[in-house]
Subunit: 289 residues, 2 copies
C-alpha cells in the first residue's frame, strides 16, 4: 500500500496594522489606496487634528489616537512629512516602534535620510521609499485612492533583510503601483534630480520670463505642457532642492550647457549643429519615450 | 399714397476658390478643415505629387493641376512651406496670382517674411498668418480636420486693407479656430519665441542630459510633459530658430538667467530666495494659466 503525501500551500493574506503618519496629498492617497485595495487595518495620524477626523469620517483610515497609542501597534509605519521632519520623527519615537516592525517614508530625496538612519541601531527596520506620483494641488482634499495606479514605487533599502524589503514591495503592488524599483539612495537622488526636480526648476524658470503674462492667444500645447509643473508648493520643493543639492546642481549645469549649445548655433546660424542637436533629442524621445 | 421702402440685407456665403499649396501636416489640416466646415472650392498642390493624389482621393481637396493652372484661379492662396521657401514662391509666381486676391501663409515666423513682401508692389494682397497648432508628428498622414479646433489664429497684416484682413479672419473662424489675434509681425515673433520656440529648445536641452536614457521607473508626469516637444522635426525648426534669431536668443538668455538664480540659491541653501522664485512662478500659473 502506498501513501501519497500531498503538499498544499495555502496563501493567507496577513492582515497588518499600518500607521500612516501625515495625511497630506501623498499620505492620504496611501491610506485611501490601502483601504480601497487591501484588508489591512489603517491607523492614521496628522498634526492638524481636523484632517485626521475628516479622514476617519471619509473611511480613509480605520482608527486614530495619539502617537503613543498608535506607533507601538503598527506592523508598518509610513511617514509622510516634509524632508526635514522625517529623521527627527524617527529618532524621537525610536523606542516606541514595535520590535521587528518596518518604518518607511515617502520623501522625494533619500540619501540624506537613509544614510543617516542606517548608522543607528534600531529594534525595527527602516526602509526608505519614494512613491513616484504627485499633483499640482496638495493637501488632504487633493488625495485620491487612484493616485498610484500606473506609477512607479522606488525603494532604497540599505541594511534591511530581504524579507522586510519584499513586504514593502508587495504592499506597493497591493496599493496599485505598476512598477517597483529597488536601487541605492544615491542613484535614486541622481535620477530624481533629472526626472523631477530639474523639470520643476525649468518650468518655473520658463514662466518667469517677462513675456509670460501676455501668452494668451499666442500659445498652443508646448507652453501648456512645459509650464504645467510651475504650479508648485515652494515650501516643500525648496527643502527637497537643498537636500539634493549636488545632483540637482549637476543637472542645472547640464541643462544650461545644452541651452548654450543651441544659443551658439542660433547665433552662428549653423543649421547643421541645430539639426544634429534636435536629431539626438528626437532619437531619445522615439527610443526611450 | 405712401410707398414704404423695405431694405433687406441678404447674407450670401461667397463660395471662394482657395488654393492650398503644400499639403503637409498644416496645409492638409487646413484643406481638411475647409472641406469639413465650409463650401469653398479647394484647389490643392504639393511638390510630391503622390501626396496631392492621396489628398484628392481622400476628399481633402476638390481639384489639382499645375501651379500655372491653379494659381490664377484662386481667390485666396495659402502657402504652407518651410520658412525659406515662402518668399521665393511668392516672387516667382507674382504675375500669376489673381488681381485683388489674397495670398497668405502659415509659417511660424513673420517679421522676415512680412517686412520683405510689404516692400513689393503686387496686384494682390499679401497677409501673413500663423495658425497656432501642431503635433509631434508631421506630414500629410498626420493631418486632421480638427487640428485647429480651440486653437488661436494669428494674423500679422502690414499694408492690406481692412476688408481683406476681415476675409482672412472670417475664414479662420470658419475653419474652427476659437480665437483670432491681429498683431504686428515683430510682436508675433517675440511672443512665439517665448510660447513655442524656447519651449522646444528647452525640451531638447532637457532630454540631452546623460541621465535621460535611464529615466524609466524614475519618472512621473513632469518628465513626460516637459520633454514632450523634444519629438521634433529638426529640419523645419532649425530654419525657424535662425529666422527668429534675436527674440529667441533673448528668451534663451532670460531662461538661463532664471536657472542661474535657482542654482545660486540652491548652492547657498537660501530657502527664502527659492520660496520667493517659486511663489512668483506659481502666481503666474494660477493667475494666467
Amino acid at each position: 500500500m502506498y501513501y501519497h503525501i500531498m503538499e498544499t500551500i495555502v496563501l493567507v493574506e496577513v492582515r497588518m496594522k499600518i500607521l500612516v503618519a501625515g495625511l497630506g496629498l501623498i499620505g492620504a492617497s496611501i491610506a485611501k489606496s490601502l483601504k480601497k485595495n487591501t484588508s489591512h487595518y489603517i491607523l492614521g495620524w496628522n498634526r492638524t487634528q481636523s484632517v485626521t477626523l475628516k479622514a476617519l469620517e471619509d473611511g480613509a483610515i480605520d482608527e486614530t489616537g495619539t502617537l503613543d497609542e498608535l506607533i507601538p501597534q503598527a506592523d508598518i509605519t509610513i511617514i509622510n512629512f516634509y524632508t526635514d521632519a522625517i529623521i527627527p520623527f524617527v529618532m524621537e519615537n525610536r523606542d516606541k516602534f514595535k520590535k521587528g516592525s518596518i518604518v518607511t517614508d515617502s520623501c522625494g530625496i533619500k540619501t540624506m535620510i537613509c544614510r543617516t538612519l542606517e548608522k543607528e541601531k534600531f529594534d525595527f527596520y527602516y526602509i526608505g521609499a519614494h512613491p513616484m506620483a504627485g499633483r499640482e494641488v496638495s493637501g488632504y482634499d487633493a488625495s485620491l485612492p487612484t493616485l498610484f495606479d500606473n506609477a512607479s514605487f522606488i525603494c532604497t533599502p540599505t541594511n534591511a533583510p530581504k524579507s522586510k524589503i519584499d513586504t514593502v514591495l508587495e504592499l506597493a503592488r497591493e496599493m496599485g503601483f505598476k512598477r517597483t524599483v529597488v536601487t541605492t539612495p544615491e542613484h535614486h537622488d541622481e535620477m530624481i534630480a533629472f526626472t523631477s526636480q530639474i523639470a520643476h526648476v525649468l518650468a518655473c524658470s520658463y514662466v518667469l520670463s517677462p513675456l509670460a503674462p501676455q501668452h494668451a492667444g499666442f500659445s498652443a500645447g508646448s507652453y501648456r505642457d512645459v509650464s504645467r509643473v510651475a504650479r508648485i508648493n515652494g515650501e516643500m520643493w525648496s527643502e527637497l532642492f537643498i537636500a539634493n543639492k549636488e545632483p540637482l546642481i549637476n543637472e542645472i549645469d547640464d541643462l544650461v550647457n545644452n541651452l548654450e549649445k543651441f544659443r551658439a548655433a542660433i547665433q552662428d546660424e549653423d543649421r547643421d549643429i541645430l539639426i544634429d542637436l534636435m536629431a539626438q533629442a528626437n532619437r531619445i524621445k522615439e527610443e526611450i519615450g
